[in-house]
């Protein structure tokens, strides 16, 4: 039986999704990934006391998604696919934690979110990998970190200053987001606000991904004008975070001019977002059916002049930053993730593109206004901190161009359209390219036309493992720099 083929945001009847034998699903998924497809989702759903496992693979070149499922009735284990497909590593751990079905032979089967703090004796305790040997020592950091950032625990196994292994234990931020979506499935207004708080640095990204999933399940299409406004907001979010990251990266190497200048430029961008919707992070802008706020001609001019000014000033600041010998000395050849590794562990977003992997959902699986124009995929090859920094700079320039194009092609029309109830017994995959990479929400509706299961994936889910690999054989003092060059989300991972 072959897998059903759909596109991004095309909903499908749950009954139309092929149900394979567990072994067949496993074999075919391995075959698909080995032939160049990407594992997008792998999650369970409780169905009349049984557990159904859904697997979704993407063919990025052909803009296609493939889905199949399998059912576990009494069976409580299956043969792990992680040894063959490393990118399935966290998906299998998550599935095990949520449904207690064990991937036999999984090399790293540990708790993901529950039981992380070791407070509940009914949960599986978390055991760290440990190294033994003369002069080998361990450094533990977190969950509370030195800066104003989210919590997570890092355990370094070092020899002298050199990191041999870094184990990242997350889950401290687990707020039960997916459960909250299902529990409150009768309050669509609340759900949209909840989606904004999945990761507060990716408000537009997650809120847009969720809203588009909802709209696909209602089978409505929103106005072009609303799509343009969402695109402008998403690109502003990308510019703002990338500027903030360049500022923080400068700070991490003691280059304080960069820290100040990029930080001030970021303020201008988030204030532009506030001019549109009243919140610096774009909260409350996106609702299913369109947007809450229109952009007036006067505001369009303001946005245009602000981003063009920021673009010019960024260009000068980047010129100074990337020609400074003391900065390059720290950035270049630090924290390298090569292309083969990036592909193997399923990296996404700018971090993957900095390692030469051409993956960008705006171009691979177009959504919203990106259906109207092509987005050129920007890639670099060195996969080091320099590449992950420089790609942010060139993506800022690209985003400025995209926003300018949208402002020039602004169309007339309403920005909001009332939505109808969700269609029952369907599944939709909503992919989007947030500033950090691929966002993937999958929603399943029940008989009652309400959400019965939502699976949320932040790009951090794929990329955290890359941080572990990037710091191997680096000095421990380079960890903050490597970590910042990825800038991953804790709450987006922990849900």
């Amino acid at each position: 039986m072959s897998w059903i083929e759909i596109k991004n945001l095309q909903s499908v009847l749950l009954n139309d999704i092929p149900r394979l034998k567990v072994e067949d699903l496993r074999d075919q998924l391995i075959e698909k990934i080995k032939s160049g497809k990407r594992l997008v989702q792998f999650f369970g759903d409780a169905e009349n006391g049984d557990v159904v496992l859904y697997a979704i693979a993407a063919d990025d070149n052909a803009s296609k998604l493939f889905i199949a499922s399998t059912k576990f009735t009494s069976q409580k284990e299956f043969q792990s696919i992680t040894p063959e497909i490393p990118s399935a590593h966290l998906f299998e751990r998550e599935f095990f934690e949520q449904y207690k079905i064990k991937p036999e032979g999984h090399p790293w089967l540990k708790p993901l979110r529950k039981g992380i703090a070791g407070i509940d004796s009914s949960e599986i305790p978390y055991e760290f990998f440990s190294m033994k040997g003369e002069e080998v020592h361990e450094v533990g950091v977190g969950p509370i970190h030195a800066g104003i950032i989210e919590p997570g625990h890092f355990r370094f196994s070092c020899h002298g200053e050199k990191i041999y292994h870094l184990e990242i234990k997350l889950g401290f931020q687990h707020r039960g987001v997916e459960e909250l979506f299902v529990k409150n499935n009768g309050r669509p207004g609340y759900l949209q606000k909840l989606s904004e708080s999945i990761a507060g640095d990716t408000v537009i990204g997650h809120a847009g991904t969720f809203a588009r999933a909802t709209e696909a399940l209602c089978n409505i299409s929103i106005s072009r004008r609303a799509k343009l406004i969402r695109t402008i907001a998403l690109e502003l979010e990308r510019i703002a975070i990338h500027l903030g990251d360049l500022s923080a990266l400068s700070n991490d190497v003691g280059y304080l001019t960069g820290n100040s200048v990029f930080g001030a430029l970021r303020t201008k961008i988030i204030n532009t977002t506030m001019a549109i919707c009243g919140n610096r992070f774009g909260r409350s802008l996106i609702i299913p059916g369109g947007v809450n706020f229109d952009i007036s001609p006067e505001l369009r001019e303001n946005i245009s002049s602000t981003i063009n000014q920021v673009n010019d000033e960024t260009a000068l600041a980047a010129e100074v930053l990337f020609s400074s010998a003391s900065v390059l000395e720290r950035f270049e050849k630090t924290g390298v993730v090569d292309k083969a590794t990036a592909l193997e562990i399923g990296m996404v977003g700018p971090s993957a593109r900095a390692s030469g992997v051409a993956v960008d959902i705006r171009s691979d699986h177009p959504f919203g206004a990106y259906e109207f124009f092509p987005v050129h995929k920007l890639t670099l090859n060195s996969g080091d901190v320099f590449a992950r920094s420089y790609i942010r700079f060139i993506e800022i320039q690209q985003s400025v161009k995209i926003i300018n194009d949208q402002l020039e092609n602004f169309t007339e029309g309403d920005v909001y359209k009332a939505i109808s109830p969700l269609e029952p017994n369907r599944l939709v995959v909503s992919l989007a390219e947030g500033w950090r990479g691929e966002l993937a929400h999958v929603i399943l509706t029940g008989n009652d036309s309400k959400i019965k299961r939502i699976k949320i994936k932040d790009p951090s889910f794929h990329n955290w493992f890359a941080v572990s690999l990037a710091v191997r054989n680096e000095g421990i003092s380079d960890f903050p720099l490597c970590n910042k060059s990825f800038n991953l989300s804790y709450s987006g991972f922990d849900l």
Partner: protein, 254 residues
């Protein structure tokens, strides 16, 4: 070298000179003004659309400790009874002050929101070092707190800073709804701060649970044991909201 000089000139002086009277965009959603006389009888649209149950009708009130300032109530109201202003000084030392009732003007709110305690002014009035703990925060509040120290807001010039260790701190700033997994670490951090110490709750999530209030993954028992000295509402609170609340709380003259 020339580029660097050019860059410094272009950057100029960015700090907001008078932080207590800083202007903010008119679009910013801050203090809400409620006029119950405009309510349509029998209507509870605002209550129904509120994602965090911050609004109660009969009599109409908004709890800023729960409010995420999304403005859905204002849009839903057929009579125009709720209007969000751009007033950003929302910090309060009392939880009950945060419940805004009909007719309460911002000037009245501001007057009584922050109670200046002599001992706080005496101990922390010149310098206040804080340790931030994110306990399930989505990174919204965290980014705004980090922004307090950037070149625009430059909180450090008032002697207020975030420090790396609770041992160096005079108090802790909590963000997030306090997850089960962070509850022990939060308590550890609190205990590690030397007395006398203060506790500041930032954002709707910490104050009330916010959009995560109904989650089974929270453990908010910390708040039953430890008294909050200062509440800073918002989702997330603007840096101006945070800085001004602290300045008023410690009675800092600038």
């Amino acid at each position: 070298m020339l580029d660097l000089i050019k860059l410094r000139r272009q950057h100029g002086y960015q700090a907001i000179p008078d932080i207590k009277n800083a202007k903010i965009l008119s679009t910013h959603r801050g203090y809400p003004i409620i006029d119950e006389s405009k309510c349509v009888s029998g209507c509870s649209d605002c209550e129904n659309v509120c994602p965090t149950n911050a609004i109660k009708v009969n009599p109409l009130s908004i709890d800023l400790g729960k409010c995420i300032f999304c403005g859905e109530c204002e849009r839903a109201c057929p009579g125009g009874a709720i209007k969000f202003t751009n007033e950003y000084k929302l910090g309060s030392t009392g939880r009950n002050n945060l419940i805004i009732t009909s007719g309460k003007l911002f000037a009245d709110y501001e007057k009584e929101a922050i109670e200046l305690r002599k001992e706080i002014h005496k101990i922390f009035g010149h310098s206040l070092k804080l340790r931030q703990v994110s306990a399930g925060g989505c990174n919204g509040c965290e980014m705004e707190l980090a922004a307090c120290g950037n070149v625009n807001f430059d909180m450090g010039r008032f002697g207020i800073d975030f420090v790396a260790s609770p041992r160096h701190a005079d108090g802790i700033v909590i963000t997030g709804p306090i997850t089960k997994n962070m509850a022990p670490a939060l308590m550890d951090a609190y205990k590690s701060v030397n007395s006398p110490k203060i506790v500041i709750a930032v954002g709707a999530c910490t104050i009330s649970g916010g959009v995560f209030e109904e989650s089974d993954e929270l453990n908010r028992s910390f708040l039953n044991e430890i008294k909050i000295d200062l509440y800073i509402p918002g989702c997330p609170p603007h840096p101006l909201t945070f800085i001004n609340a602290i300045l008023d709380f410690i009675g800092k003259k600038i």
